[in-house]
């Protein structure tokens, strides 16, 4: 398991994106393409206090909010990573990202 806060239900998901201005959710498994993204997020949690970093297991039923999100149409690589500003999706990526790539997205969207 990661050291990030885990989102387990859709209501918890709603609560997080509505009550935090900037949110990054990584939805994946504990696999090779996902672990480096979680790891980058754990470090960024310390460095970017204005952003809420959470994860969600790809295979739990409530993860349909991300699996079936229109922004993820066409995604065929884990993890699915979503960025929200004031409750709205501002960016979504599929597959592995380095900390540098994640940081560039955070700078761009938040």
């Amino acid at each position: 398991m990661t050291n990030l806060e885990h989102v387990i239900t859709t209501s918890q998901y709603q609560e997080i994106i509505e009550n935090n201005e900037n949110v990054m959710i990584c939805c994946g498994r504990m696999g090779p393409m996902c672990v480096p993204v979680y790891d980058a997020m754990e470090e960024l949690t310390e460095e970017s206090k204005n952003i809420k970093f959470v994860d969600m297991l790809f295979d739990i039923p409530d993860a349909h909010v991300i699996r079936n999100a229109p922004e993820c149409a066409g995604f065929m690589g884990l993890p699915f990573t979503m960025y929200y500003k004031n409750g709205k999706v501002v960016k979504a990526t599929s597959s592995i990202q380095s900390k540098e790539q994640v940081q560039a997205i955070l700078n761009e969207v938040f």
């Binding site: 504990m30 393409m33 995604f75 065929m76 690589g77 599929s94 900390k99 540098e100």
Partner: protein, 307 residues
């Protein structure tokens, strides 16, 4: 700054770099590991490791975490997710500058920067990464259930992953640039005997097309130089690894394949600079051989700085 002065700096924190870190720190040598990206390297990209002696079955992430913990427990400093912006390896005191401007010095350097997946470097590859182009069959295989896919490559990993992917897919074509494979006989046999697998040999992919995800590839036949477009649901690119040696081009000898030649002590052509693991000129690239190199490089780095 005294705190930025080390006896040895290890560049890269994969199996080789972490092993060097363990041996050096345990010998009370002040050691820093600087790693671009996440510590663990290629081990973290491996779902399950079954051939590392003494450990029956372990996930790559777990093995890397244990190696990291061991190194830290002996006093090794580790900085990950850094970028090296400048190097001076020529003098007695070696200098490494990272992108935030911090400078570190050491009496010896061990280069253990490993390798990364080779990409095809063709039109559309960047656009469709994670949208029909994948480099990890174990991670993304289930997205292709009942789909028609291509695996590019002709080595062991391409052949073995192709066979594994047939659990999910409807059909699978292996596209390979030669008319023969570089894999082990049993891996070639298993792919040839699988009814879902067919072969497009002497061919290479030239471009990917699609909208939201990849839909077509252009394949060129290298015998008659004709090309065809083929409808496809996904492509797995498994064409081997490339040494991460670009940063050292103007500092040490590097062979035409991008590998760093060393002697049996893991010493490079520059005094006080050693190399270990997949970045080194060698034939067998495994965790066991990376660990071997890391230990040898560490012990000779200790001898060097104490001589």
């Amino acid at each position: 700054m005294e705190s930025n002065k080390y006896d040895v700096i290890v560049l890269g924190g994969g199996a080789a770099g972490l092993t060097a870190g363990i041996y050096l720190s345990r010998a009370k040598i002040k050691t820093l590991i600087l790693n671009e990206g996440m510590v663990g390297g290629q081990i973290v990209l491996t779902h399950e490791i079954a051939n590392y002696p003494g450990v029956e079955n372990i996930s790559g992430y777990q093995l890397a975490s244990t190696m990291k913990k061991q190194a830290i427990s002996f006093g090794c400093d580790i900085k990950q997710n850094i970028q090296i912006s400048d190097l001076d390896l020529s003098g007695e005191i070696k200098k490494v500058i990272i992108s935030n401007g911090e400078q570190y010095t050491a009496k010896a350097i061990i280069i253990a920067t490993g390798g990364r997946s080779r990409e095809l470097a063709v039109e559309g590859e960047d656009t469709f990464k994670g949208r029909g182009i994948s480099y990890c069959a174990t991670c993304d295989g289930d997205f292709y259930t009942d789909k028609d896919i291509i695996v590019v490559g002709g080595g062991n990993s391409a052949l073995e992953e192709a066979v594994a992917l047939t659990t999910y897919v409807r059909s699978l074509r292996i596209v390979h640039q030669f008319d023969h494979f570089q894999g082990f006989a049993h891996a070639i046999e298993a792919a040839k005997n699988n009814p879902k697998i067919s072969f497009i040999l002497n061919s290479k992919i030239e471009a990917f097309e699609g909208n939201e995800k990849v839909q077509k590839v252009t394949i060129r036949n290298l015998n008659d130089n004709t090309s065809q477009k083929m409808a496809i649901d996904g492509v797995f690119i498994l064409i081997g690894y490339k040494p991460n040696s670009e940063k050292f081009t103007n500092h040490i000898d590097i062979n035409p394949y991008g590998e760093i030649p060393t002697d049996s002590k893991m010493a490079t052509n520059v005094k006080g600079v050693f190399a270990a693991g997949d970045v080194r000129e060698k034939r067998i690239r495994q965790i066991a051989t990376a660990v071997n190199d890391g230990a040898i490089a560490a012990i000779h780095a200790i001898e060097y700085i104490q001589s």
